[in-house]
């Protein structure tokens, strides 16, 4: 089996005149769980659609399980499980009928796994899909995806609409899935805590670019938060090497920095002087710092916060 499950090379996609995915390159090794993080509209779903061969790249290429995504054959697709954003399933069918529909299309169907997953999410097989709650439909979608026994699992926002109990069930299910053989998971989500628990690696996408492609532990170790007393506006901070994002918390100014070295410490000292303090950054703080770089991210509280800061 190849050691690379998913590969992207300068992958670019335009919608109209705007590039939504810009020169994205990465390799996802087999046997890992990778989280794909990004704001809504950062290009995550577009990226996944290109990986799944549902959308053609404008430029560049990508492949899954060694096969170019634009040339996916049914036999390769049978080895991939894909949970669609929104957990689509045919509303008129019952859960059982959906299983039959799916099992006909995937040769390695595992009915026991389907049954167990359905039970774990608390769903009756005779229920019609359109009568299910959002969370239950998500459970069905996940069960349908996993039971085809795929080598590669791509989950686009699978926890959307799930209650906390179901979310835990989902995490357990994913980890159980990974236990069996050389499998790979790509997981796109906004639930940073779950990502931190479950993934080996993380990809952070901002405005169509991949800014972070790293193991979770390395990511955490390289990012740190430095706070100091300063009345500077975050926008007007002089250049600090490695500064990911700066923001105000009350009287203090917080700087999230990557790979702090002597130079960046010195630059920060010039801003904050002796009040400068270092602390470790948690996973979600680090991720949010990257996501805040997006040109489209605007806190609706920003204006008010800035106003109170000058008082």
């Amino acid at each position: 089996m190849s050691s690379i499950a998913i590969s992207a090379n300068n992958l670019t996609r335009y919608f109209g005149n705007t590039p939504v995915v810009r020169q994205v390159s990465f390799d996802i090794p087999t046997g890992t769980v990778t989280g794909l993080l990004g704001l809504n509209g950062a290009g995550k779903s577009t990226l996944i659609k290109m990986l799944m061969g549902l959308l053609a790249p404008t430029r560049g290429s990508c492949s899954v399980l060694g096969v170019d995504s634009t040339l996916l054959t049914p036999s390769t697709r049978a080895r991939i499980g894909y949970t669609i954003e929104g957990h689509f399933a045919y509303g008129r069918m019952t859960v059982r009928e959906s299983e039959q529909f799916q099992s006909d299309s995937f040769p390695n169907w595992n009915p026991t796994l389907f049954q167990n997953t359905i039970e774990r999410f608390g769903i009756r097989p005779t229920a019609r899909i359109r009568t299910l709650s959002r969370g239950q439909r998500a459970g069905v979608s996940i069960a349908l995806t996993l039971s085809s026994d795929p080598e590669l699992l791509i989950l686009d926002d699978p926890a959307l609409g799930l209650d906390p109990v179901s979310r835990r069930a989902l995490n357990e299910t994913i980890l159980e899935f990974m236990e069996g053989g050389e499998r790979t998971v790509l997981l796109s989500s906004h639930l940073l805590d779950d990502i931190e628990r479950v993934t080996d690696r993380v990809l952070v996408m901002v405005d169509g670019r991949i800014l972070v492609n790293s193991s979770v532990s390395a990511f955490l170790e390289r990012v740190s938060i430095w706070t100091c007393d300063s009345s500077d506006e975050p926008r007007h901070i002089p250049c600090v090497p490695g500064l990911i994002h700066a923001y105000r918390t009350g009287r203090r100014l917080a700087l999230v920095v990557v790979d702090v070295d002597r130079e960046s410490e010195a630059a920060m000292a010039r801003i904050g002087g002796s009040t400068l303090t270092r602390s470790d950054s948690s996973f979600d703080e680090s991720v949010i710092a990257y996501l805040s770089r997006s040109r489209s991210s605007q806190s609706f509280l920003t204006k008010n916060a800035a106003a109170t800061a000058t008082l």
């Binding site: 980890l175 628990r197 170790e221 948690s282 996973f283 703080e285």
Partner: protein, 132 residues
């Protein structure tokens, strides 16, 4: 085994480090006795609902620093503490911590006598006599 490991996602400490710290503290406080078995990588990962590689990384570091040892086919056990560092190195590390503590006493303006008293209390409460 009364010893439980709990992790918190979203903490400033990476998950693997939380495991390492908890095992380390457990060994130091005596909650984990030498020779006691700890859960396997898979078991702990299932229990905590986290990626087994994270547990593996934590256990690797614990083995490296001498807190755990692995016996082929049988899993992980609390290791007999063996010192990885030379005495000089150990003293150097302690001196580092002491320097930090002294700095703090200056900043916080507490009498050294009070610090010493508190130190003694801590030693009596938490640390068992160390074995070489």
């Amino acid at each position: 085994m009364a010893f439980t490991i709990r992790i918190v996602a979203g903490s400033t400490a990476p998950i693997y480090r939380q495991i390492v710290d908890q095992v380390t503290r457990g060994v130091a406080s005596g909650e984990l006795s030498v020779g006691e078995s700890v859960p396997s990588v898979r078991q702990l990962a299932r229990e905590l609902v986290i990626n087994p590689n994270t547990v593996a990384k934590a256990y690797a570091e614990l083995v490296d620093s001498g807190f755990l040892e692995t016996q082929a086919g049988k899993g992980f056990f609390v290791a007999k503490r063996r010192q990885v560092y030379t005495k000089a190195e150990r003293l150097r590390r302690i001196d580092e911590s002491i320097d930090q503590l002294v700095n703090q006493t200056l900043v916080l303006d507490i009498e050294p006598e009070e610090i010493v008293q508190r130190l003694q209390d801590r030693f009596e409460k938490h640390l068992k006599p160390a074995s070489d």
